[in-house]
Symmetry: C2
Subunit: 182 residues, 2 copies
DNA sequence: TCAATTAAGCAACATATGTCGTATAGTCGT
DNA sequence: ACGACTATACGACATATGTTGCTTAATTGA
């Protein structure tokens, strides 16, 4: 299967649209491959040529959202003062907060959060390997550091979106930043 | 369904044993409810009286392992020196490392890691609310702090067990501790 | 000990899953 | 424009899922 084939790209695009469409209506766990295939007007067997299961499809459909989070995280200046969260981080939490209605289920789905965490770890690893690291941790391997922070970020977001969500996004961003910058 | 009924307890115990048995042979994702039911010598329909899906069953079957991790994490003295990880933390990573063959798949399964993270967050929240908190973060809500650290721990462990696992457990524990105690 | 309660067994169902082989039709290089 | 290639459609299959109604048997309380 050549993923660059225009036919394959079209099919994937239709599957993404169908899944996001369905996810906006019901919870992710109840969405079946058959349904997605039907709504996308794609043969069910064809779906398996692209994705092994719904969650992988969902993760791919959300690639944009995931990339957005990863990008925002990677953009944060590491030397911002402790009592003032950098703008990209605040924007990230605001983004999640605002888009919660649309894809809060992303963070509620274990598989999607796992995927997000992996993405973040990769992104931060690359950034850390490039030399841009929080100071004072030169005695820790970059990938462990990246895994640590990715886990922490995803953990805080997941805890927040699955909870009552009383804390305002900006406040949560500040708390996270304070934990990040002791 | 009364979970305290001795018949129910027996059934659950058999399901747990069967699942752990199967998980030791193959990866979790490929294990079906039908199989578990057959090996446990329990009617398939009965399984649904106890668990909605395999992952929930797995999470319950692993309650002991999860509790062990949560307990170890909660036991760590928070004032240990930065260049020497506390014994419970080292033991925890060694435990995971040693038991990897048996239930490394726990950390490879998104749903199980999510469950583990939730457990840890709860455990740490309770502990932090009780006053025992890492110093210097009084301006951060305890539950956010707990979510942050739980995510970080699970993130590092998941990154480690799903990777080549070259770093020795003790070294990883030290790295984690250094990140924890700046 | 006996009767009420209820977990588990059992059979059957509609639907979903994953995987075939084959046919159709869209894509690309010449 | 034509032929090789291949993604998709289609139908069919064995199996898995989730649920239901009914029966059997274990537990509990009087």
């Amino acid at each position: 299967m050549n993923p660059d084939d225009p036919r394959a790209q079209r099919t994937r695009a239709r599957l993404h649209a169908a899944l996001l469409d369905l996810a906006a209506e019901r919870e992710l766990g109840s969405i079946t491959i058959s349904e997605v295939a039907k709504r996308a007007e794609v043969n069910r067997a064809t779906v398996y040529l692209h994705y092994p299961d719904v969650d992988t499809l969902a993760a791919d459909a959300l690639e944009d959202a995931v990339a957005e989070v990863a990008r925002a995280a990677a953009l944060c200046p590491l030397d911002a003062p402790r009592d003032r969260a950098p703008e990209p981080l605040t924007a990230l939490f605001a983004h999640v907060s605002a888009g919660a209605a649309r894809y809060a289920w992303l963070l509620g789905s274990p598989r999607c959060t796992a995927r997000l965490r992996e993405r973040l770890t990769g992104e931060l690893s690359a950034r850390f390997a490039g030399g841009a690291r929080p100071p004072g941790f030169d005695d820790v391997p970059p990938d462990v550091h990246a895994a640590y922070l990715s886990g922490a970020l995803v953990g805080v977001i997941a805890h927040w979106v699955t909870g009552p969500r009383t804390t305002p996004a900006a406040e949560l961003a500040l708390s996270f930043w304070r934990l990040f910058r002791p």
